[in-house]
């Protein structure tokens, strides 16, 4: 599916690499000892159950929260990301799960927030033209870009947030559940977009609960479980069932039960989670996996 062979890329030095990153909130240990590598031109999917710590990881990378322990290396240099400004300056663009839009501002204002054209005499016309271009590209169904984002539908807001992240010239794009609220068409556009980004040599971290989407675009999958690494897989080596087992921590889980049941009920032609032969090449832990690659 991708034109660039994943293997070649993985042998190069990673754009981003996290080692031993931990974070706790009060009595809750949200992340413990996380390792993660992302290479240029690679799409890494980050999957995991609800509350597994995916968004927390994203927030650490984008400077929203500081980590409690561990190191982050970006472009070969050890970095400490104190604030979102630091992350933006490094070239990390993020679409947050909670979108982080200013409800009182219009679509155009939000898209260009912090990087308005002509800071002393805003070029509203040019910004509006560019906004339309961006949004059309994502098949956004937004009637007007001059209305406050407060009045947009969930999917429209999400499209705006995604469009935002494309405006700078980032090296790493982090998408935290970018397609959660999107319609089928917009989802397809975002998946196309992710592929285009990879072809342009950007590194992409994509979080999603949708295994189809994950399998459609990602080169590697990192699984988090209850705040810890629970394996990293090459996409081509892993089956959906394996992934789900890694996410839920059990091969016999409610998802497979449902799949089995649905299959048994014989509602033909409706693709549930497609049953596949369990692949045995599952790589057990992130550390060893990453080690073998370098």
């Amino acid at each position: 599916m991708s034109t660039l062979p994943a293997e070649r890329l993985e042998s190069s030095a990673p754009v981003l690499s996290m080692r031993g990153v931990s974070k706790h909130f009060g009595a809750v240990a949200a992340l413990t000892d996380i390792e993660l590598d992302v290479h240029a031109g690679e799409v890494v999917a980050l999957v995991g159950d609800n509350g597994a710590g995916k968004s927390t990881l994203v927030k650490i990378l984008s400077g929203v929260h500081p980590q409690d322990a561990g190191t982050v290396t970006f472009d070969g240099k050890d970095v400490t990301i104190h604030s979102p400004v630091d992350a933006i300056n490094l070239g990390i663009a993020t679409v947050f799960q909670d979108l982080a839009l200013c409800d009182n501002l219009t679509v155009v204002d939000n898209l260009f927030l912090g990087r308005e054209l002509a800071p002393w005499r805003l070029n509203e016309v040019e910004m509006e033209v560019q906004s339309w271009k961006l949004l059309r590209q994502l098949s956004a169904k937004i009637p007007s870009v001059r209305i406050a984002v407060a009045s947009l539908s969930g999917g429209q807001r999400q499209t705006v947030a995604i469009a935002r992240s494309l405006l700078g010239s980032p090296k790493l794009i982090i998408l935290d559940e970018p397609t959660a609220a999107l319609g089928v068409e917009q989802t397809a556009e975002v998946l196309n977009l992710v592929e285009r980004l990879r072809e342009n040599g950007l590194a992409v971290i994509m979080i999603s609960h949708n295994m189809q989407d994950v399998q459609a675009v990602s080169d590697r999958v990192a699984v988090l479980r209850l705040g810890r690494n629970n394996g990293t897989f090459r996409m081509k080596d892993v089956s959906t069932d394996d992934l789900i087992a890694a996410i839920t921590g059990a091969t016999d889980n409610v998802v497979t039960q449902r799949a089995a049941q649905t299959g048994a009920a014989g509602a033909g032609g409706k693709p549930g989670v497609p049953p596949e032969a369990p692949a045995e090449d599952r790589q057990p832990a992130a550390g060893t996996d990453e080690g073998s690659e370098q």
Partner: protein, 418 residues
């Protein structure tokens, strides 16, 4: 719902292509949009202007002097000082904070000008600069405490309210009141400086022309970029209305002493702040921080810098307002900036439509709000009532003026959150 027949053959502008948009083009379309906005409650400053007109009508009926040129000239002059302070309040309210100390800071700057200019004999310009510099430092201190410790601005500036009132008393020393000489520039500016009639018309003409040309060029630019332009008819209509209002006001005020320079100064400050809020990156950031601080931070906006600039601006405006008030009173006194200066400045901003919760409002709300407040004060002044009735009626009129505004706002929210 109706498609303008003229627009069917030309390509539809980029921003009007969505099928769900109730199509509107040309002048008739604009009028239709206008009616729709009125019905939807999205009226901008219109309701408060209407409220103002109603107040004026009522007071004029009660006392024929109210709308006399002479009284309106006074009204405008009396609005300027607190209006400037209120402009600073608009700044802090836009980021969702508050400054309770504007009264004390204004009093302190009046005291500083009084002492340095009258007692120490500094040149007036230097004295004013010194007072504003002190206020700016106060703003810096506020923003430092705010950014560093995250103390709510309500409490910081409450401490400031007390602390700088103390400082004001201390600066004035035992004497308490310092008269500014009546021939000083400041006093002249506050009491005697009026725009000559011919100049006022020139200014009005410049303003109208500026408005028209900027609208025109904006519209041209938009059409060139493939967006919908503003209908020519509407632009001309607005220009004509602006021209009529400006020229008539100037003509009417010129029948008495004319427009005070102090009010012009205030109006210019409002226009500058309006430009800064709407046409600069800084202004956009201010609204963003007020609307959703965390989102603004994540967008890479230097949030602490925005707060710093806002607190410094607010204190500086308070200082300027205090100095203007001193000029108008021809004295710096212990009571300068005390009393209801704080409350009036905040109330003006809120009545003018700036939200106390941040992210919504405009520089014009300071202007409109203070006009409402001063109109009520002035109207009741002419009625010669007992204090008890004066207070009761002030409260009542204020409430009625604002209910009108709120009703239209409410209908807006019921038509969608925006």
């Amino acid at each position: 719902m109706t498609v303008n027949p003229a627009s069917t053959d030309v390509p539809v502008a980029t921003d009007l292509q969505d099928e769900r948009l109730i199509r509107t083009e040309g002048f008739r379309g604009a009028v239709k949009v206008g009616i729709n906005r009125v019905r939807g409650g999205d009226l901008g400053v219109l309701p408060i202007v209407v409220g103002l007109l109603i107040i004026w009508t009522i007071f004029q009926l009660l006392n024929p002097f109210f709308l006399s040129s002479a009284n309106l000239v006074n009204l405008l002059l009396e609005s300027a000082a607190v209006g400037v302070i209120s402009l600073g309040i608009v700044c802090v309210l836009l980021v969702g904070e508050i400054d309770l100390s504007v009264g004390s800071v204004s009093g302190l700057s009046a005291a500083i000008v009084g002492v340095t200019f009258v007692k120490q004999g500094w040149p007036i310009a230097l004295a004013i600069l010194a007072a504003i510099a002190v206020a700016a430092v106060i703003g810096l201190i506020y923003s430092f405490v705010y950014n560093k410790f995250g103390v709510p601005s309500f409490v910081i500036t409450l401490a400031g309210l007390l602390g700088f009132l103390g400082l004001q008393l201390w600066v004035l020393g035992v004497e308490g009141t310092i008269n500014l000489p009546f021939d000083a520039f400041l006093v002249w500016f506050g009491q005697q400086a009026f725009v000559p009639a011919w100049l006022s018309y020139v200014l009005a003409a410049l303003g109208v022309a500026g408005f028209f040309l900027s609208q025109l060029s904006l519209s041209r630019q938009r059409v060139k970029a493939g967006l919908s332009g503003r209908p020519m008819g509407l632009v001309i209509g607005q220009t004509v209305i602006l021209a009529v209002v400006l020229f008539f006001s100037f003509w009417y005020l010129n029948r008495a002493r004319g427009v005070g320079w102090m009010f012009v100064f205030f109006a210019v400050l409002v226009l500058i702040m309006h430009y800064a809020f709407t046409r600069t990156r800084w202004g956009r950031s201010v609204y963003a921080v007020g609307g959703n601080r965390e989102a603004a931070r994540r967008a890479g906006i230097g949030v602490t810098g925005i707060y710093t600039s806002i607190f410094v601006l607010c204190s500086s405006f308070a200082a300027i307002g205090g100095i203007l008030a001193a000029g108008r009173l021809a004295a710096a006194a212990q009571s300068s900036g005390t009393g209801d200066v704080n409350l009036n400045a905040i109330a003006a901003a809120v009545i003018g439509g700036t939200s106390l919760f941040g992210g919504r409002g405009s520089a014009f709300s300071a202007l409109l709000g203070i006009l409402v407040i001063q109109s009520i004060t002035s109207g009741l002044t002419l009625l010669n009532l007992e204090s008890s009735f004066r207070y009761m009626i002030t409260g009542l009129v204020l409430l009625l003026a604002v209910i009108l505004d709120a009703v239209s706002r409410k209908s807006r929210t019921s038509h969608g959150r925006a």
